[in-house]
Amino acid sequence: MTATEEKGPRPEMQGREGSAHETRGLTFDALRVRAQQLSLREQLERQHFLLARLNAASARLLQAVEQGDVYEAVGEIIGNLIGSEEVAIFRHHSAHQTFLLVWSVGVEKETLHQFGLGAGLIGRAAHEGTSQFRNRRPATPLLPHEASLTACIPLKLDREVIGVIVILGLLPQKNGLEWADFELLKFLETYGAVAAQLQNLQKSSVKP
């Protein structure tokens, strides 16, 4: 055993070690605070971006009600903010107990012009009134026209399903739906329905 080991560090080293320890402590604290700052800032930015998307979507829906192009607006919102150019919108026809296609982009109208309650994932969205996401139900058998399906969003007024938004393929650079997309789709589920119903009422009220 050396003298140093017996007595601990030499006095001149003790001072230096203490200082180094302090510096390491300060650096660690500074890093911790910095990491916390970044995390909090990221939370605020994420919220800001989500609200920016929701704000833009609601402004477009309001404009659409005035212009009478609610379905186009929903398609534009999905195209620009979510990233799909394959969208179909259906309205419920109570007389026929079916959902008929009222607007679409990038979709073969012949194969997807109507559907009934409960048939496939689209029919399930209409029947249960809940959004259906293909990646959350990988075992569910799909109907032929649902092969490229990503999501089905019911348009709901209170509990009544008045229509369904069907999103087929996403843009090639989009790997899947993200958290902000789900929030936006939740918004469309309610306010897309409100805007569509308002547009219908406006159109029927101006008829002679």
Binding site: E45, H48, F49, L51, A52, R53, N55, A56, A57, A59, R60, Q63, A73, E76, I77, G79, N80, L81, I82, G83, E85, L171, P172, Q173, K174
Partner: protein, 124 residues
Amino acid sequence: MGSKKILLVDDSSTARLVTRLIFSQKSNYVLLSAVDGKDAVERAHAEKPDLILMDVMMPRMTGLEACRILKHDKETSKIPVILLTTRGEEQFVQEGYESGCSDYLTKPVNDTELLDLLKAYLGE
């Protein structure tokens, strides 16, 4: 340092509004807007923006056509043009660069990616 002028060109009012809201946290950017390529060429001449952020698929004049015109005009040729498109495939990106654009972003725009790219061209 003064504010930087960005000309945002998109026929979709949703896209224009969301970009405006994203930029609202950056007080040093002044955002101008145009609704198609033809409008963009006119506004670029009138306003001389520091950067143009332009959609590709638009009525009247596409972003690619507008970019070619701007790059062939000595008054606007030095303005960086960033094209925004839904088509991220290589051939579309190549076509974009051939039109003279400085950069290319695919839709839906990633907010952080967009702000970082603008910072790279315009500084903090």
